[in-house]
Symmetry: C2
Subunit: 348 residues, 2 copies
């Protein structure tokens, strides 16, 4: 089956995904019967294109460097912006990987809505639409018989949404807790070694994992948006999801971290979602946890999510030392979930 792919945003994640499609090309064709072509790319600053014949992901992976002019790609027509690209791409799947807007999730929400209304399934690595518009977008996708997937928005490609959807049938999620912000965790575990917060933040920026505005990490915004997204999807219901508390790690001192360590404890930025009869309450704050516990055992950029359920008790998923490759894998994983649905419906 030929899968026609369109991209809104073509930054580090999009380019890593094109390279992944290239390196897995033979396996995708031989084991899954999937051939991918790219029918549109829209970027904010480097131009936008559509291609009716469809471009080869491998050629694009070679051809588009960081900041390259998209419109210079052969066998394509320039278009003015993302909405024209969506309108003219005739794609099976739209990949939305624009930068996070933590205030309202725009323009990503508009892009996703517009694609779904045209019968295009959507994969996003952008957590804000899942935090701010999940109920609307998932209902819209169901009404239009397409899929809306977002595994990469929390813990990269480590299955958390898919785990709950595909592997816990009949069970109900009662509460969630986790260490979800890699920058904060890299800083806290660096401070355990006696380094300063400023020094550790610089390291996170060098690794390319810190948000463009470091306050999004240090004030707990990133962790908050992720736990809201998780609560929306994993703890469904009509009751509201409300943020009861959001504290980051900014006010912590090296002495705080050292004191915890001396007591056999670690400081972690813990995000929690707990349900009561009035809805789901979100908290994000630094907590002291035993060093030899599931929350305490994640170091550096590693993440963990603990899922407490009615029937299966408590399970945890740990992602060890993720990088850009894992986010690219999230897009692949979602693409293959959508491919299964398309294959089933084309067979019927």
């Amino acid at each position: 089956m030929k899968l026609k792919l369109a991209f809104i945003g073509m930054g580090n994640v999009g380019r890593a995904f094109l390279r992944l499609l290239q390196s897995k090309r033979d396996e995708l064709e031989q084991n899954h019967g999937i051939t991918c072509v790219v029918t549109a790319i829209a970027t904010a600053r480097h131009g936008s294109l559509v291609s009716h014949a469809g471009l080869d992901p491998g050629d694009l992976a070679h051809g588009i460097g960081s900041g390259a002019d998209i419109e210079a790609v052969a066998d394509s027509e320039p278009v003015t912006d993302a909405s024209e690209a969506i309108a003219r791409c005739s794609a099976d799947i739209l990949f939305e990987t624009t930068t996070l807007n933590p205030v309202d999730g725009e323009p990503a929400v508009t892009h996703i809505r517009s694609a779904i209304l045209r019968g295009i399934s959507v994969v996003t690595a952008n957590k804000a639409p899942v935090a701010y518009a999940y109920r609307e977008l998932s209902r819209l996708a169901a009404d239009n018989d397409v899929m809306f997937r977002f595994e990469g928005t929390v813990m990269d490609g480590c299955p958390v949404f898919n785990l709950a959807e595909f592997c816990l049938p009949g069970a109900r999620v009662l509460s969630l807790s986790g260490v979800l912000n890699s920058t904060s965790n890299l800083i806290l575990t660096g401070m355990e070694k006696g380094r300063s917060m400023a020094e550790c933040l610089l390291e996170a920026q060098r690794f390319g994992i810190a948000e463009a505005n470091p306050d999004h990490d240090l004030d707990g915004w990133d962790a908050m948006i992720k736990i809201v997204a998780l609560a929306n999807v994993l703890m469904p219901g009509d009751q509201p999801v409300t943020v009861a508390d959001r504290q980051g790690i900014k006010h912590l001192t090296e002495a705080d971290v050292a004191r915890a360590l001396a007591d056999g404890q670690a400081v972690r930025l813990v995000a929690r979602a707990e349900t009561s009869s009035s809805g789901t309450a979100i908290t994000v704050r630094p907590e002291r946890v035993p060093r030899s516990s599931v929350l305490g055992c994640v170091h550096g950029t590693s993440n963990v999510l603990i899922i407490d359920t009615d029937l299966m008790g408590e399970i945890a998923v740990v992602e060890n030392d993720p990088g850009i490759g894992q986010t690219a894998y999230a897009l692949l994983s979602d693409m293959m979930t959508i491919h299964q649905k398309l294959a089933r419906s084309r067979k019927e």
Copy 2:
């Protein structure tokens, strides 16, 4: 949809599953359209029955106590043994929950084969058939268009097989490592508190988690059979799976555990599967691991499996403090996976 269920073995796990079906009865009917009836039960020492009309799981949960005479159940006919029960049950799903035979997996393998050949899907909580006969039984199931599911054989109902099958599409498992034997881990973490191995073993037996023969736990057999089962399923290929080393915790002293603790380490019985060009090598042995690591952070009866993959890097799944309810959930989870397949094929 009415699901007809047959049971070979009706011990603690089978009875916990009947109670679970009873407590989730309304949800199964309303949310999934599933109504369960029991058409056969075979036990080794308490008789066997078939029922053409089908018995209510809730009535059975009340009616069959530990060691109760199965043939006394109303609206049923006695049969001589498991093979007659399988031949006459007309079930959709057979639940195989007989006691572990760690030598060759019999008679469970024979029961499973016989059900599959009659077009009956099989769920087992018995790890030996997955360790000794996975390739044959899974091929046979595919040839007969039925399912062979076994989530409960390793880490109870915590998704490990399902995680790899449903949530890591396109990724290849490179190696596995984990703490898989609850009895050994309960003993080792008890010894960290200065208690003796004998005392901790008694506790495990009181909890009902130790194997009938404690050497199956203490000599590493249980962990070995589980990691072989995992390797068979998660690291497929034509190369052999061979056990390079199997050591248990029996020879460890309280001093060994205390010395590790003094170095900030924990002793854990670690099972590993690693692939090379000549096949997959299994090792099971006590290892010293950092206390603040994913292997070190599981205490008491908790388990962990670390899955290293080509595309998704390293992820870990932790099951915290499991009990009989989690094993019963494994059967429910597998039942619902099979129900989906049946629903799809009845629709076609």
